[in-house]
Symmetry: C2
Subunit: 162 residues, 2 copies
DNA sequence: AAATTACGTCAATAGTACTGACATAATCTC
DNA sequence: GAGATTATGTCAGTACTATTGACGTAATTT
């Protein structure tokens, strides 16, 4: 079981190594743009949930608005993200990726996706589902609502350019 | 399959959320000591591989010695880690946890371990092995040597105070 | 004896995060 | 409609983790 003193050092460590290398892929690309991981995270979620508001983004990232400000401003200034006034509530700013932003988000996701594919190479659909279930179970229960496994709810995709 | 454009957004995102919450557990405890995540990582590996040298630690953490310096110094000053002159090569500094250091490492690992246990609650040994294999496969192949799943090689455990 | 290695340290900088405070516009509530 | 609340933006100050580059010392290797 590789558990010692009831402490699961094996998985704790594997998780560290796995995440370290998982995030190292996009880091290379980001450096070319003068961006960091924070930009990646913002761009990822704007791309995944086009039209989400600033408040929603803060909630997903679990950072403060002051932390988001610089990063978001840079993404807007470099034409990766645009803000639109909320239709229902004009105080809100809906965030959308531009074509440029979508392209970068995709470029960043590609090597990560490749790594995942390689890791699941000989895995069945059942095994893949098991890994997904494990990762989901590692998330705080109250926060699982944030997860959007892509099936329903998010039709994204066809949002035009803005 | 929840794959879109050949990009595995589902697992990319799950990995982000899982790691975010996984690291949030120890963060609370660390704050009480005025420590950060860097201290946690150092303490973890010193505890796991007692006697490892500074160079080995740098290699595992993939940071520079200047980054390590401050954090390691604090852990030494607060009596969580001790340095011993290398027996073969007196230039080397072997790092060992003190009893205090081991206690903190354990305290930090406990909530993470609890989270993992909960996530694997209804899982068989086979399923657990599958998750381990997935995480290991996510690590860069050249770096898998760093992993030490606890079975062999590392007898740690019985090192006395130093 | 000279080169290399392991480690420590000083200085300057960058990226990401935080708290606290204040401003503006829009919406909600009484 | 007046006042409270909400969504967002911004300014100032600080902390933590990380970087590069440079230099020093002691020990080992060549």
């Amino acid at each position: 079981m590789s558990v010692e003193d009831g402490i699961d050092f094996a998985i704790i460590e594997l998780f560290f190594f796995a995440y370290r290398d998982f995030t190292s892929d996009p880091d290379q690309i980001l450096a070319d743009y003068g961006f960091g991981r924070a930009h990646h995270r913002v761009l990822h979620f704007v791309n995944r949930r086009p039209g989400l508001t600033v408040a929603e983004l803060l909630d997903v990232l679990k950072i403060t608005k002051q932390s988001l400000a610089r990063v978001l401003k840079q993404l807007i200034d470099t034409d990766h993200v645009v803000q639109l006034q909320g239709p229902r509530d004009r105080r809100q700013r809906e965030l959308y990726p531009t074509a440029k932003g979508r392209a970068l988000a995709l470029a960043l996701a590609r090597p990560q996706s490749r790594r995942i594919r390689a890791a699941l190479e000989d895995s069945s659909a059942t095994e893949r589902a098991l890994v997904e279930r494990f990762l989901e179970a590692m998330v705080n229960p109250e926060l699982r609502a944030q997860i959007d496994v892509g099936s329903a709810k998010m039709s994204g995709k066809s949002h035009g350019e803005h």
